[in-house]
């Protein structure tokens, strides 16, 4: 199944959104976050908290972190259950679920190559919430008025057969040029 990325241009208030929302892999609101990547630290000073993780906050950590940990680098703007804890992986949904048609995105820095990657956070849909490895990081996340980088909403919302939320993957769309 192909990745289809929905994001929202910052100037989308031109009312094209009904159309745009149906277009897969839209352009990213680059001004909003990719361009800042050169300046702002990704995984640096920020210590993301996990609001529902009773253990409190932890830092986005370096290379030895597995993809079943909230601190894994690709999760810098995730909000949800890690599919890696639910029978999926970074880019596979667990058995019996469907990939979300629309997504939000983040730009995260890989500690191995110090490059920044555009990450699509697809929800896996159609089965009740997995309940394992709930993570919430919000690097360059914004409220719903910038929907393409908003993570406090169910991104299974546009799926036809079921909008139920199960877990979230974090797949690479491309290397960001940091510009």
């Amino acid at each position: 199944m192909k990745v289809r990325t929905f994001t929202r241009l910052t100037d989308m208030i031109d009312r094209r959104s009904e159309t745009l929302s149906r277009v897969a892999a839209q352009a990213i609101g680059r001004r909003s976050f990719i361009t800042r990547l050169g300046q702002a630290m990704v995984g640096g000073a920020v210590i993301p908290m996990l609001p529902f993780d009773r253990s409190g906050g932890r830092a986005m950590a370096a290379e030895d972190v597995t993809d079943a940990a909230c601190e894994y680098w690709r999760y810098c703007a995730i909000d949800g259950y890690l599919c890696s804890c639910c029978g999926g992986s970074l880019s596979t949904c667990p058995p019996g679920t469907d990939v979300s048609k629309v997504t939000w995105v983040g730009t995260c820095q890989n500690p191995k190559d110090n490059k920044s990657y555009l990450i699509t956070y697809n929800d896996c849909c159609g089965r009740t919430s997995c309940g394992r490895c709930l993570c919430n990081n919000n690097l360059r996340e914004r409220p719903g008025y910038r929907m393409g980088v908003h993570n406090d909403i169910n991104w299974c919302m546009a799926n036809d057969s079921s909008t139920m939320y199960h877990c979230t993957v974090a797949a690479i769309v491309e290397v960001s040029d940091g510009g």
């Binding site: 929905f6 929202r8 910052t10 100037d11 989308m12 208030i13 031109d14 009312r15 094209r16 959104s17 009904e18 745009l20 929302s21 001004r31 909003s32 976050f33 800042r36 702002a40 000073a45 920020v46 210590i47 993301p48 908290m49 609001p51 529902f52 009773r54 409190g56 906050g57 810098c76 909000d79 629309v102 159609g126 089965r127 009740t128 919430s129 309940g131 709930l134 919430n136 990081n137 919000n138 690097l139 360059r140 914004r142 409220p143 719903g144 008025y145 910038r146 929907m147 908003h150 406090d152 909403i153 169910n154 991104w155 299974c156 919302m157 546009a158 079921s162 909008t163 139920m164 939320y165």
Partner: protein, 381 residues
């Protein structure tokens, strides 16, 4: 026969005198509670994301902090208790096979005292399925319309006529949140991604509206606004990621900024507001209380509080800073009184009072463990 004397029919058993003496503890009739009119309520809106089909709203006694009842939120539903109405509203989504099958989006209406469901009617399948925030469902000042945030992910505002049980739609692409005018029943505003507000004035029937956008007042990249807004007289107060309080008038055809001022600029420690409902305004006292964390930076905007800052809205200055439990949501009733916060790490509700004699510094009172992943909390007058 010992056995036989118990072989009695039905409830008549309960009317019998006790076999042995127990004057204080006799047979009990089982009844169903209702909530009194004068209950000071706290609503804890818990999406229960671990079981996302089964969100709920716990209703607490604001004085004793005990649970007095529950309303179902269902699958990522949103909840609204109008100020004057004796009804509680949930907008939610049902599947006839729990998570699949036939989908129905509906407004479920509860009697506020019995908590029984007294009505239900369908709405279009466009509503946002969010982590709950107050502005995602609201009511017009006359409480005749509900405003519900849609996201498909294209955004619009559903205008639900509670009398006719019909829904109109206001296009609001790139905008989010609903902020009903405090004085005009046919007016509602929203926040847009270009840093503006927009105000919709409905026609008489509430079936359509005209939109007037305001001037750009904030920068989403540099210093975004939290969508949580607080009523203060005839204005709304907002706060930005970097701790600038904005006062907006959303009463006219065009939204207008009244003023704005910073609360943390130049303060050592990079303090910022954080959470899902990061501040509460006591309109009577002219005070705002803000959930603040230190070492704030890009991405920290949902961090729980380390301190609560008391802000004099007239003097535009911080009057007190108090160490606080880690809270992500804070509320106070429109009539004032104690505040209530959500501690997400403990999954508890915390009662907080401000002391006017001590520059409105706050004191953390009792707490009660309730809910799981609640993000929104409301207090009734």
């Amino acid at each position: 026969m010992r056995l036989s004397h118990l072989l009695l029919a039905g409830a008549s058993m309960l009317m019998l005198p006790c076999v042995t003496q127990a004057q204080e503890l006799g047979p009990e009739e089982i009844t169903v509670n209702t909530l009194p009119d004068d209950l000071k309520r706290v609503y804890l809106i818990d999406l229960a994301v671990n079981h996302v089909v089964d969100g709920r709203v716990y209703i607490l006694d604001g004085e004793k902090l005990d649970v007095r009842g529950m309303v179902e939120l269902g699958f990522l539903g949103v909840f609204h208790a109008p100020e004057k109405s004796k009804k509680l509203y949930v907008a939610t989504t049902f599947y006839d096979r729990l998570t699949r099958g036939k989908r129905t989006d509906a407004i479920v209406v509860h009697d506020a005292n019995t908590l029984k469901i007294v009505d239900e009617f369908e709405i279009p399948q466009k509503r946002a399925m969010p982590i709950t925030y107050r502005p995602l469902i609201s009511s017009s000042s006359d409480e005749k319309f509900l405003f519900i945030q849609n996201a498909t992910p294209a955004t619009s505002i559903a205008v639900v006529d509670l009398t006719k049980k019909t829904t109109a739609e206001l296009q609001a692409a790139g905008c989010y949140g609903t902020y009903p005018s405090i004085t005009s029943p046919k007016r509602v505003s929203t926040i847009c991604g270009d840093g503006t507000f927009a105000t919709y004035t409905l026609n008489q029937a509430g079936t359509d509206g005209t939109r007037v956008g305001g001037d750009k007042i904030f920068d989403v990249d540099e210093d975004a606004l939290f969508i949580h807004g607080e009523r203060d007289g005839e204005t709304y107060r907002f706060i930005s990621f970097k701790g600038h309080i904005f006062t907006m008038s959303l009463e006219g055809e065009k939204p207008a900024k009244v003023d704005s001022f910073p609360i943390a600029d130049g303060v050592e420690g990079d303090w910022r507001p954080g959470g899902y409902q990061p501040f509460a305004v006591d309109a009577k006292a002219g005070m705002a209380y803000v959930l603040m964390h230190s070492k704030g930076a890009e991405g920290s905007h949902k961090f729980p509080s380390e301190e609560i800052w008391s802000v004099d809205l007239k003097a535009k200055k911080v009057t007190a800073r108090t160490k606080s439990p880690p809270l992500t949501s804070l509320t106070i009733s429109l009539a004032g009184g104690p505040m209530f916060g959500i501690n997400p790490l403990e999954a508890s509700v915390v009662k907080i009072t401000a002391d006017p004699a001590a520059a409105n510094a706050v004191t953390v009172g009792g707490s009660v463990k309730v809910g799981e992943t609640a993000t929104q909390i409301e207090a009734s007058n």
